[in-house]
Structures are given as structure tokens and as C-alpha cells.
Symmetry: D2
Subunit: 317 residues, 4 copies
């Protein structure tokens, strides 16, 4: 009899991003990327895409540095949350409970082997659109203003790590994630690893940090409905002087259509579309890419740009 | 503490469709719709879209009538399958185990309150692409030939029923489905109901049969990656003399971009794109549309065509 | 030896539209449709799409009514302009020279057989983008802000007329237009006629006015680069409460992908995409559609909506 | 008074391509690129896209080499043809009249300063679709089978030349072409030049041959209706093992969305979409790009690939 898959974690909830150019970053996320501000507290502005159902999916925090503050995942139920907490405590990775913020109730924090901070929670603050933000169709969280890239919802986050193989062991135990794809180099080293807790093909990815730094951030991604919207976004970035790092093109890994830019403080941001691709198979076998296969470049032959391997935030000393 | 959501059923697996014009129907599904034949046995041809991971998702069976033979759902594990079987037997809806076919192993059959036949199974025949069908990218089930509409994967099925409210009670109990959206008329009658077992916004829908017939079929839907592919499909249907019933347009309910045609035997087939819309919220609240709201037509104002309410297969006596 | 085609007129230049809700109309054209204001004088606001090369393509004039003020065409040269003026004077249709406005120099005005006012001019005011409107790519007239529908350029105008056959005779003589397509009813009456002076498949169309009024306006159209942009525009209109009359769909005549809305004062506005369709053949033979063919509806079967035949501006008494 | 623009040449008609792998090239153009064979004579197969109005736009000729045979332009009238012939004879560039082929009647041949062979003609063989090729819509030349890339119509050709400045002088005199855009290096050398005879932004381009060879070919381009079709084509090329050189991406020059591949014999082929961009201005001023501007790469930052500067056909000795 097959093992039972774990469904304790429902989805990636939010990412906290540090910026040392808070006003410029906010202007980028609101006016170019198309997020909506749902609240402010302390040094943080809470932002959301028009079809995110929670209060926020991006917590933008003014800081003296860049990179990721923490990553939040929402559990499938209160009971599921407690099962995960017990498991993580048993792994010795736990930090402990925090009270939550504008976006959600109490959350349990822990660290991955590369010292990125995560939290899991169930009690959340579902977004209720005020008058001016009410959508025409009631099955949508918020009005789509069509402002800037007008991204639809948070999609995934990509972190850097010293030891991706350690992460590959950790995530399935901590969150019940499945490893949908990975890159294994000729040396046996794991070059990259893609995880999911649900039917999305991935909600988090880790790639090898080529500097000795820990807890670094590679990018956060929001989804749009169509590939054409990414082509339009490319023009919008061009017109607004946003630095385009690479794309639009199609990844071989996961086949996502992508475009990468840097927000003003230097954090990498992706806008992506996966088409109708989902991982529906409950016993999906991990797809492993070899070093040779990866050298072919992206799906249509684009060579992976050097900065994609080297640039993370905060910058390595 | 919140109730625990059920994850026993992984996804819609396949639909068996009856045709009294087997050769014309097969030609349509292969050359116009773009499915690939993966096998034949008895009166049936097994068909699949290029990114369906199982052996087949459409079983096309020659018959003296049209409509649906049975609908198959794959369980998340063997244990989950047995939990569902126990539940369904307890509901008195069970038919019993069958041996399976070319596409999967043993399956447990049952009837919904309108007498449509379902089966659930875990043991499946995963598709292994022969030489000529191997994809360029190894994370894809099969080569995409770009033939006809070149649909990507099965998406959902829509059935007709005398008592949709009864179905609304039945499906969550039988399959653990969630009701994501519904139409409730001013009379209190449930006009339509959309269900999902995973993160797709729906994998099955039921609408009211306005004839006294039972167990009728409304349509089966395959997904494509982009809305533009549906516009291209419309031209392809036009060039090939396929009857276009309505669309392309965007549904208000579920916001799916759609196009409906009749295959040669008269069964309705849909090609659709949901964009990046997913139901990620583990405690999603059912969206209820009123009669007044539905009278506005589809999302952009298209009036629902009369045949959409009346045409099902087999034809009502 | 074949007759020499006439190239005296280069293209449709601008349309003057009357509105009795000037502020609401302006807000629609700037914030929803995505035009940019380039100047104001008297009761008129001059508007342009981001890739229109002239100062303006829409002159929005506050009035006590709606409908079209005049339609301007730009000649290919000063000599060509004078040849056309001589021809039109010879036809007895001339009004005389006017001084021009913010958008162009002196222009020669005339009337079509249905009393719509036209003008032709060569001396024009080419748009020079001020600092904040400079595009990232120098081969583009103005920055594309991505605001609202962000239409690219004026495409065509559609007028109503009592006697479309008379127009069919008039336009080739007055402007050197070619008749690319037409509808001829079983009665012999010309139901519609599409004209072009260049490689676009049409820059003006006339359809039969089913009321006894003269000089009425059917719609003005702006082009976008992709069909997907029209689908996005449909959502934008929906979110902003703009009345969508019909579409998105594909016309059988000219194969344009279309979407029709009413601006706040009631003038019909279209957003369209012709794909890569051009009339390159210098001796293109007019395509004639019969009444039977037109009854099939639009390209993919959409029935032409009643208001499309009846609604024009100003409203018929 | 402004000079009168010349309209003697209507459009690019066809390109003759040499292949030393005739069967593989033909299979590529028919089954992958999606052209239709309209006839054969001698060593040549005549091919056409589904909305090309003439008999053929590509003449594929078996040879012991690759590269371009000749380029054909259609005149606007018989009189216009004779005017051009007189002009070209006066320039001393003429070769003389040839009888024509399956595709058109008599044609006048001449050489450009780099020794590429051109012909101009008026009398043409308009395509009349046989039974199986009749389109559903009568304003379309041929049925669109949706086979392979299903390109719509020929768009332009790009040649290599030793002295692009000489070509820049020649083409306006020979064909009445306008120079819409050009690249002028810091040294004053003309690096590239784009010409049009009509409203398309270009129908021929020349770029600098970095080898000492003459009369070489860079690529021929067919247009599709939407950018998304090019993304689909990229997948089709990938699945079929066609060499993708660069793209999809957007050119800064002319803003065309592009994808370049090599057909089996090594000739470069482009599939492109210009959106709704047209050159309507009769006195369009040439846009000049500097060396610095070109070093920024393509519109969204893609660096121009080395082979794009070096690979032409036939290969340089």
C-alpha cells in the first residue's frame, strides 16, 4: 500500500521583503507591479495582488538591508497546523509561536537549514474589499484596476542555500512538501530543487548560493493569467526604466514562462505564467535534470545569464 | 477548531463518452481536438491529451446512443480509496468493484442521485511515451504535436441532474468535494453547482436538466494554456465545419474563458482556460449567484444561448 | 493596361466627436480607453493614442448633442491634396478651405452624400513628446503608459447613411478609396461598404441607417496590438461599469477581432485587432457578402445584436 | 511644396530560396512552418502561406548551395512597372525581361549593388483555392489548416551586403522605397537599413556582411497574427528538433516580435509579429540608431547573438 501524501499545509501565504529604499520599492510594487496596499504598521507596508484572498501576500519592510524577512505558509486547518508544529519541534528546527500581524493570527516560526525564517499559521485575515475595491464579479477577491503589471496572485518564492540537498530532506519533513523537480550536477551536488505542498507545480524553489552567505533571497514571483501579459509587462518595465535581468522566455525546468526584474532596492522579482500546468498526480515522481541537460539553456535555448547564478539579496559581503 | 478538509480524492481521471458515430467522433477528437490514441479494446478507443499523465482521460465507446458512460476519479492513495469506498457504501450509493481496463486497475463504482455512474481507483497505468511520442522536455508526459486544438489536459465534466441540491449534498460526502460556486434561483432551487476535490476551481459541475431525463451529460472540457489558443481553436472549428454553440467568451461563474462545440455525434465539448485562477484557500466559502445576477449573462454580457439550457446527451425522448 | 490606383490620400487622420457629457467622456477616453490629452482649445480637447504620430486623432468637443463633427484624412503630399480638392470641387461636394486647428494646417472640407463633414489636409502638426511622454524606444511616437486599454492608434470610423450605394460611388471618386468588402442584400440594396485608401483593410465603413436621420455616427475604432489586449479591455470595461454592447468576437467581414462599448455620452467606441491582415494586392477585387451569408452571424456564429443595427449618434428623433 | 512619394511598387511578392537538402527543406516548410504547396516545375516547389493572395511567395529550388535565388516585387500597375523599368535601366542596374514562371507573368530583372537578383512584375497568377483548400470565410485566400506554425503571409526579407550605404541610395531610386529605420555606426558606416514600399514598416532589410562575400542571404520572414503564435511556434520548433537561433524577443529596431530558426539546409527563417504597427505617415522621417543605442541589445535587453552577425547563406568560403 502506498504512503499517504501529506496535505497539512495549504499554500504559500506571504513573503516579507526587506528594502533599504522603502519609498522607491513601494512605488514600484504599487504603480509598476500593480499590487494594492491593504495596510501599514511599524516599518511595514502590507501589499496584495487583486486575486489574493488573504489580507496581504507581500510585507514590505523598511530596513538597512535587502533580502527576505520571513516566508509564511498557511495550514489546511488548525489541527494540521498543530501536527506540523509537533513535527518541526521534533526536528529541532523550531523557533516558537509569534502573535501574528495585520495579516494573520498566531504563527509558529522555524528555520530551514540555511537559516531562512519561516512561519506557519491557520488563523488568517481574509481580505474584505472596501467600497472602491469591490470587484464586478463576486468570485474575485478585489477589483482588478489594470494598473501596471496587474499581477493576479502570489505564486512562489526562490531562496538561495549552501546545501540544497539538506533542504531537499528538510522541506518534505517540515511542510509535507513534495519535490517535483531538481537539478543534480555530475558531482552529485543538488543544484536546485522545486517543492510544492499542493497542485501548483512549485511554491518554493532553492538554488545553490555560489557565495558563502546564508539565508539569502533569490526572487519572489507573482502569477499573471496569460503569457501575453508578461510581454506587456516587459514593455511597461522598459518604459519605466526598471532593470530587466532576463526574459521573457520559457524555463525548461517547470516550463514556466518568465520575466525577471530588480525592484529599486535590488531584490529580484519575477512575473510568470504556468499555463494550465498542474501537478495532479498524487504520486508524482521527481523529475531530475542533469548538468548536461541544464547546459542546453532554457526551453527555447536562451543561455542562463551569469547574474542569475550570482545575484541574491542581501548582496554577499 | 475548524473541520479538517478531505483530500482523499486527488483529481478527475477520465470520462467515458458514448458515440453512435464512432469513426467521425474519433476523427474529431484526434484530428480537430488534438487528442492522441493510446489504445483500443472492445468498442472503446482510449484517448489522451499531451500532458495528461495517465494512459487515457477520454474513453470513447461506440454505442447506439450518446452521453456519458462513466466518470473516473483517482484517489490520493490506496488507503484514501478504501476510506472513500467505506463512506460510499455507508451512503448506500455503491455498485461495487470492477476490474479496471487498459487505463487503470480495480475501481469501485457508484451512482450519484441522478444515476450517473462514477468510479474511483488508485492503481493507474501511467503513460510511458513510445519513441515517436517522447517530448523534448522530460517534465511533460508526451510530445505536443500541435495537431488541431492541441488541448493540454482534461479539465472537468458537466452533468445534468433533476435535483442539483441533492447532488450538492452527495458529492462532498462521496468524494470529499468542496462546493466552490453555485446558482440558487429565487424559488430556492439550486440551478447549478460547481465542485472541486483539489486546487482547481472545479472538476465537475451539475446543472438542472430541464427535461425529465436522468443521467444525462452536458459537456466535457479540456484545458489549453492560453486564451489565445481558444481563439485559434474557434478558427479551426470554423474551417472544419464543427458546430460552434457559443463562445469564445468568459463565464461569470468561475471566470473560465470558454468555447463550446458539438462533436459529430452531438456530445458537447468545451475548450477552456482558467488563467492563473486556483482555489488555494482551505476554507473557501461557497460563492452563491442569484437569479438576478445570472440574468446579466456571461462576464462580458453575452446572453446564455437557449440550447445551452436544453441540449444534453443522449437527447431527451 | 490596368488603371492606375490612386494614392493621393495617405490615411485617416482624426475624428471629431460631440459629447453632451464632456467631463465623463473625457474621463472615459483618458483613464479607461487610455488616450493622452495633447491640448485644449475652445470647447474641444485633443486626444491621441500612444503611437499616433500626429498631434491628435480624436477631437472631443463639448456640445448639446452627440455624434460626429467631422472626419479628417491626411493627403500624401501637397500636390496630392490639390488634386483631390480639384476633383471634389468638380463633383460639387466641396465646402471650402478652413484654417485648421491645433492639430494641422489648412484643410479642405466637403460633404459626403449623407451630409457627414470631411476634411483633407497635408500640413500637419506632428507630435513631439514632451519630457514625461518620451518613449523608451525612439521609433515610437509617445510613451505607452499602459493606462486603461492603452490603445495604440486610430484605426477606422464607421458612419451610417441612408444610401450606402451612393457612398460606394462617392468615396472612390472623392478620396481615391478602394471598396474592399461590401454587403449586398437580396433586394440589391447595399447594406454596408468598407473602404480603404492604403494597405489597411479599411479606414472607413458605412452601414445602412434604419432611421430616416442623416449624418449619423456608428463608431470610431482604435487598434491594439494583440487580441488578448481586447480580452483584457473587456475585463477593464466590466470593472469600470462601461456598457459593453457586443463582443469580444471576430467579424466575418474583414475578420477583425472586435469589442464594442458606449462611452458615457452614448457614442459607440470599438477596440479592435486585425492581426497581420493587410490589403497588399493593388488590384484587390471587392468581396461581396450576400444576405444569406450575413445571416450566419459573425465569424464564430455570434448573432449580430439588434442595437448594432439601430443605435447611432445622435439618437434619431 | 513637398516631393511626391512614389507608389509604383505595391509589395514584396516572393523570394526564391536555394536548398541543398530539398526534401528536408520542403518537409520543414510544409509540415513545420505550415506553408502549402501550390505547384512544382523543374527543380522548384512553389509554396504559399494561407493568406498570401498570389500563387506563391516562396520558390524553393533544389541546388548545390543555399541562399537566395531572386527576390520579386509586384508593381502597382502595368504603367508603374514600366516607369520603374525605365528608371532602373537609367541607373544601369538592369538585367532584362524574363518570361515569368508558374507564379506570374513577365518580369524585369535587375541587380542591387551587392549583386542580389531582383525582379519586378505586375501580371500575376492570383491563387484560386481548389476544393479542399477553400476557406470558410470568403475574404481569405485559402483555408488555414492550422498545420505547424500556420504562418499567415510573407512579411519581409533580409539580405547581407558589403556596402549598406550604397543600398540605402539604391533602393529608393530603384523601387521607390522609403528608408524607415537605419543603424549608423560611430565610424559613419551604415550597419543596417530597413526599407518599405507601402505601409508595412519594412519589406526588406540589409545588414552588413562581416565576410567578404557578396549576394548573401540573412533571412526571410513570415508574419503570424499574434505574438502568442510565436511562443507556440517556439514549442513546435523545440518538439521537432528545429535549431532555434534566438528569440522569441522584441526587436528595438522596428519593434517586431521575432523568432529565428534555421531550416534544414541552413537558411535562416523568421516568424514575426508587428502588432498594429504601420507606417502611415507619408513623410516619415528615417529613425537612426547609434552604435551606443544598439549596444543595449534588443528591446527588453537580450544581447544580440554572435551568429546573428556572422551566419548567412550560402556560407562564406
Amino acid at each position: 500500500m502506498s504512503a499517504e501524501p501529506c496535505f497539512d499545509i495549504a499554500h504559500l501565504g506571504h513573503v516579507e521583503l526587506f528594502t533599504n529604499k522603502p519609498q522607491e520599492s513601494l512605488d514600484f510594487f504599487v504603480n509598476i507591479f500593480g499590487l494594492t496596499e491593504s495596510g501599514r504598521a511599524g516599518d511595514s507596508v502590507y501589499l496584495r495582488a487583486w486575486d489574493d484572498y488573504e489580507f496581504h501576500t507581500l510585507k514590505l519592510t523598511a530596513s538597512n538591508t535587502t533580502g527576505v524577512g520571513h516566508i509564511g505558509y498557511r495550514a489546511a486547518s488548525e489541527a494540521a497546523l498543530l501536527r506540523r508544529v509537533a513535527g518541526i519541534e521534533g526536528m529541532g528546527a523550531g523557533i516558537g509561536w509569534v502573535e501574528g500581524d495585520l495579516g494573520h493570527g498566531r504563527a509558529y516560526r522555524f528555520r530551514d537549514p540555511d537559516n531562512h525564517v519561516f512561519e506557519i499559521y491557520f488563523d488568517t485575515n481574509k481580505y474584505v474589499a472596501p467600497e472602491g475595491e469591490r470587484p464586478a464579479l463576486k468570485n474575485q477577491a478585489q477589483r482588478n484596476h489594470g494598473r501596471g503589471c496587474a499581477v493576479r496572485r502570489i505564486d512562489h518564492v526562490n531562496l538561495l542555500a549552501q546545501d540544497v540537498a539538506a533542504i531537499r530532506d528538510f522541506m518534505p519533513k517540515a511542510l509535507g512538501s513534495r519535490v517535483t523537480e531538481q537539478i543534480v550536477l555530475d558531482s552529485g551536488e543538488v543544484g536546485g530543487c522545486w517543492f510544492t505542498v499542493n497542485n501548483k507545480s512549485y511554491d518554493i524553489a532553492y538554488t545553490r548560493d555560489h557565495t558563502p552567505a546564508q539565508a539569502r533571497f533569490h526572487h519572489v514571483t507573482y502569477a499573471v493569467d496569460q503569457r501575453e501579459h508578461i510581454l506587456e509587462a516587459a514593455d511597461l518595465f522598459l518604459e519605466n526604466g526598471v532593470f530587466i535581468e532576463t526574459g521573457p522566455h520559457k524555463h525548461a525546468v517547470q516550463q514556466t514562462f518568465f520575466l525577471y526584474v530588480y525592484e529599486p532596492a535590488g531584490n529580484r522579482v519575477e512575473i510568470a505564467n504556468a499555463g494550465a500546468r498542474l501537478i495532479l498526480d498524487p504520486d508524482w515522481q521527481t523529475v531530475t535534470w542533469t548538468e548536461t541537460e541544464r547546459k542546453k539553456g532554457q526551453a527555447w535555448g536562451l543561455k542562463t545569464i551569469e547574474s542569475f547564478h550570482m545575484h541574491g539579496t542581501p548582496p554577499a559581503a
